[in-house]
């Protein structure tokens, strides 16, 4: 079991800045995120797209913003637990017990939920029987390349993942790439390579087609694909890979007894606490009158939520407001030795 002052759920920009705001007032935090990297929507949805409304930064990409935030919280040494989803949150005495999908257990005084619109999960095939084959012959990611050698693989999707894996897996397997429209949205370079491989007969490309049905009992034998005009085509395949991007699913948060309003958590605007004492919600996931889903609003919310956590983590101490420019204790926490040389 890991004991800490505050658990931050979500490693997007707002979750990362929450760690900063907790750190400068002397609270220890651990971050948990379901993705395999930090940055949340900034890394997953728009890493290369510039953001123009971060105060004091005229223009920066989601990726740069994430890197800068990581640098900013580095002095606090917070552990980041990636590839783990928080499953359960239970009150134990005056503390909260937090359990993850990897059965890691945390004991914490307070929780800040910075979960965005929920956790990212791959969008799956909509066919009902696709579930039966999932993990055996239907996959949404490639973990071990060798498993995909000497197979008949049908890849669905039109983005970079679909193109890159079509190129890579076609070296050792027969690959058919299926997309719902003629245009691909991946990098131009990848599209050129796929077109060349198609011309050389190394990849079969089928557009505008979508999956219609799967044939096979225990194993997939073939799939039927269909275009908008109702024309069907049968493709021999024993493996299907779907790359339809990620969707955001609220997941277990809905079961934690929080006041939910559709997919958001109702909070007060004094310290962004939820209806559960010691659980705070900030960023896109929280709602209150006038809420804006902006990164800058999330940053503001973390500053107040962090102070709200203080009374739970340090019940016998009084919180004192300080500036980073003048406070010796904050500078110590930041590891600043001599301002003038920094």
């Amino acid at each position: 079991m890991i004991s800490t002052d505050v658990i931050v759920i979500g490693a997007g920009p707002v979750g990362l800045f929450a760690v900063h705001q907790l750190g400068i007032i002397g609270l220890k935090a651990e971050i948990i995120d379901n993705l395999n990297k930090v940055g949340g929507q900034c890394s997953e949805l728009y890493p290369d797209k510039p953001i123009y409304d971060i105060p004091g930064i005229p223009k920066c990409t989601g990726e740069t913003l994430t890197e800068n935030l990581m640098e900013q919280i580095e002095p606090f040494g917070s552990k980041i637990h990636l590839n783990e989803r928080v499953q359960e949150v239970v009150k134990e005495g005056t503390k909260w017990k937090v359990t993850t999908s990897k059965q890691k257990i945390f004991n914490t005084s307070a929780i800040i939920i910075a979960g965005g619109v929920g956790s990212f999960e791959p969008r799956k095939f909509s066919l009902k029987d696709s579930e039966n084959f999932e993990g055996k012959s239907i996959f949404y990611s490639v973990k071990d390349k060798s498993f995909f050698e000497n197979k008949d693989i049908c890849i669905f999707g039109g983005g970079d993942s679909a193109l890159d894996w079509s190129i890579e897996l076609s070296k050792k397997s027969k690959v058919t790439l299926v997309h719902r429209r003629d245009e691909f949205r991946g990098a131009n370079k990848s599209i050129e390579i796929v077109n060349k491989l198609k011309k050389d007969g190394k990849i079969q490309v089928e557009t505008p087609y979508q999956l219609e049905s799967i044939e096979g009992k225990d194993k997939i034998k073939s799939v039927m694909i269909k275009n908008e005009d109702g024309k069907n085509k049968k493709i021999k395949a024993d493996i299907l890979l779907g790359f339809f991007g990620l969707i955001m699913q609220l997941g277990p948060i809905a079961n934690w007894g929080l006041g939910m309003d559709k997919k958001t958590i109702a909070v007060n605007t004094e310290n962004f606490e939820t209806n559960q004492k010691g659980i705070f919600a900030v960023g896109d996931i929280c709602s209150y009158p006038g809420k804006l889903k902006l990164i800058l609003s999330g940053f503001h919310e973390t500053a107040l939520a962090a102070r709200g956590c203080f009374k739970y983590a340090r019940p016998n101490e009084k919180y004192r407001f300080e500036f980073t420019t003048t406070s010796k204790s904050i500078k110590k926490r930041l590891g600043v030795k001599n301002d003038k040389q920094e």
Binding site: S126, R180, K293
Partner: protein, 106 residues
């Protein structure tokens, strides 16, 4: 102002008047019509306000801008009449518009 008919996947119809300047997505959300999630709030950053525009109306609506088609790739069961309802702005010309919702958004 335009009268818009939203048809849920279970065929239930909702007819509402949506003011000019609002989006088709807002028309549904503000009138509590189920079937449109709009997780990102209308920023074309998700695909959870996906609708099928009625065949007769599809060509009368302003064409997609860059990025919408890419986002529709990630929608649930897209077809050639798919649009993101947050990208359709209501005007008098859309009076009588009919849109249908997919069986789910995410």
């Amino acid at each position: 102002m335009a009268k818009i008919t939203y048809i849920e996947n279970n065929k239930e119809e909702h007819v509402v008047e949506v003011p000019n300047g609002n989006t088709v997505m807002e028309g549904a959300v503000q009138n509590n019509i189920p079937g449109i999630d709009a997780d990102c709030g209308g920023a074309m950053a998700c695909a959870t306000c996906h609708i099928y525009v009625d065949e007769k109306w599809y060509d009368k609506i302003k064409k997609k801008e860059d990025g919408e088609e890419d986002m529709i790739d990630m929608a649930f069961e897209p077809n050639k009449f798919s649009r993101l309802s947050c990208q359709i702005t209501v005007s008098d010309d859309l009076d009588g518009l009919i849109v249908r919702m997919p069986s789910k958004q995410s």
